[in-house]
Amino acid sequence: MNVFKRGLISIVRRPGKSAILFILILVLSNIIAGAISVKNALVNTENAILEKMGVEVTIEYNWLDITDATPSITPEMVETIGQSEYVKEYDYSTTYYMEARGVKNYYSDYYYDGNGSFTITGGRNTTLQDVRSGDITIKEGRTYTREEIESGAPVLLISDKVAQLNDLSVGSSVTFLYTLYDYSDIVYRKYAAEGDFDIPVLPIEPWEPKVIKTFEFEFKIIGIFSAKPMRYTDWNGNIVETDSPLLNTFYTVNKAINACINEIRKEAQAAGVPDNIYINTAAVFILKHPDYVELFESQNKQHLPKGLVFKNNAKSFESIRTPMANVEWIAEIVMWVAVGATVLIISLLVTLFLRDRRHEMGIYLALGARKGAIVTQILTEVLVVALIAVTLSVFTGNLLASNMSATMLENQLTEEQKNETDGGRDVIPFSDIGISSSKSIGILPVPIEEEDTGRITTEDVMEMYKVRLDLKTVLFIYLIGMGSVLISTLVPIIYTLRLKPRQILM
């Protein structure tokens, strides 16, 4: 009959005491498991927000500082800044506006052009910025490959609404049209305006400009995306949901757009007419950590010409981090208090139980059992019970923590939001997180409160906040739970075993 069998006999033959020990360890390890789960969930959520939304720094125009020509955001500038050690990844996109032959726009809640013209947004990463930010989700097909980015392949991703409306699918082709006109022959009627200026209003004749060339650019659809509806609070405080402005956006690679534009410009130059092409370039830099924002901006402002400035969303990120840090702090305190309580209470309980078992330990000593064997037997008894209790608590603690901490975090976030609103801000506090490059460039029609729509709301954070059981969490719960029980059992056993058998038995 080895020590393990003796330990198991002890558990089974003393069910009352085993049950008390089990219940106590279960309760305490639930608290520990819950606290660990909450802490890990918060860390995971913060990482998820960082991962998904990132801490974004964009390049924006400072119109007050622009007196002459509007400065351009060039790919070279973006590439240089993107090499900073603080940057996790970066992206820039060239956006242009072209008509697609035979393709109708989707009538969105607030926007309908009706002329079959679409925003074409380019990218340089295999993961689209708007996919990463959660604004769009690939529904069918794929995004572009590295090879397609490098070669400038004419590939396209379109929204499911536009695809459905126009009976388009992955593999279909879309032809973009651009007509280069010569306006030089048109004579405008001139009205004398107040002051010294003559303002051209209507052409006299010819009525139509001369067509130099109509370009056709054929793109192949490789993916179809769905766009997340936007929610915002209107002036009356009602939450309003609208279609995404990205529904009429086509995504391709930067080089494909540039190839089209270069061809048009070349032709315009040959014909000696202005091309009238104004492309927008937006750049976004995702930093490794919100704390790097200031360092990054001071390091790279030298690369921006006058009129361009960095804009970041770090401050708004703090609005999320603060309540999360509060809950994380509470979870940490609860965990260590629970660990302390576990060590103390289990120690006292085991000491109490060992008073009964003290005699038994004396018997084993009198029979010549090794102290190590006695320790092993008692530890087997306690740890087998603890193992079952901790295993159960991994799930129950997780379940409890999930419900309780979610409420706690939601309250904290709401409170933080209320504080910021009370503090003079009239917009939702999580200001800029999630605004995609295509939305931030300002060429899309903007709803009244567009700024609000791109922000992370309490609901978004709560959606991301999931108390999950990952391997790291489970291992940590076992480590802390079983470790606490082990220490609290060893101490009273060693205290008893230091005695001579006679002191125990006679």
Binding site: M1, I9, G362, L367, A369, L505, M506
Partner: protein, 229 residues
């Protein structure tokens, strides 16, 4: 016959400030196999302390205890208890939630002495020898009477195949009839199985049946070897 156990100048005392209160003073004696010894003494005479020393449950302040000529400190107290001596206590000291046979098996699993392969059968046989049948052997010990528990304790002591059986007031909690049965077992172990049985008691009835009686008074052996009532 060679001595199985010898004690030489054994001393045990409690330090009380600057003075020493002696429990055992300069005790020496030799014990042989095949004999049933009784150490007789009044309460506080030091007989239980003496038994604790030779059972290695406690350590003397000075002096030697030799088992087959080897100091038990060299054998190792734990090793000595495990493989050389079996102990029977007044209060039985059985593990209460285990059955009689499991109590015997525990001792058999601890010793390093060579035992028959079928330990469980051996344990049943030993229990049968001390008067515990198989049905009782399978009961948890707290469902047995005091006399039966003491028989289980004796079976446990001899189960490790040791030659030295030590008993501290083994019949102290038992009636006369049961006491007689227990004493018979001790005598049988000494005489039929060539064990050295040392029993500490204040019972003159048990002493009357011993091969040798050692009187202990105020920590000193008055060993005439004869019991005179």
């Amino acid at each position: 016959m060679p001595n199985i156990l010898s004690v030489r100048n054994l001393n045990y005392y409690y330090q009380d400030g600057d003075t020493r209160r002696f429990i055992l003073r300069d005790v020496s004696y030799d014990f042989e196999r095949g004999r049933f010894y009784v150490i007789l003494g009044e309460s506080g005479s030091g007989k239980t302390t003496f038994l604790s020393m030779i059972a290695a449950l406690d350590t003397p302040k000075s002096g030697e205890i030799l088992f087959e000529g080897v100091d038990i400190r060299r054998i190792g107290y734990e090793n000595y208890r495990r493989n050389k001596a079996g102990m029977v206590f007044q209060s039985y000291n059985l593990i209460p939630y285990m059955t009689a046979v499991e109590n015997v098996l525990v001792a058999m699993s601890i010793t390093q002495n060579k035992l028959p392969a079928d330990k469980k059968e051996t344990a049943y046989n030993l229990l049968q020898y001390v008067g515990i049948d198989k049905a009782k052997a399978n009961r948890t010990v707290n469902k047995l009477s005091g006399g039966e528990q003491q028989r289980v304790a004796i079976a446990r002591a001899v189960a490790t195949d040791v030659d030295l059986i030590l008993a501290d007031e083994p019949t102290g909690n038992l009636d006369e009839e049961t006491e007689a049965g227990i004493v018979e077992i001790f005598k049988s172990l000494a005489h039929d199985y060539n064990k050295c049985v040392i029993v500490v008691t204040h019972s003159s009835e048990i002493a009357a049946q011993a091969d040798e009686v050692i009187r202990l008074k105020k920590g000193v052996f008055l060993n005439d070897g004869q019991f005179s009532g």
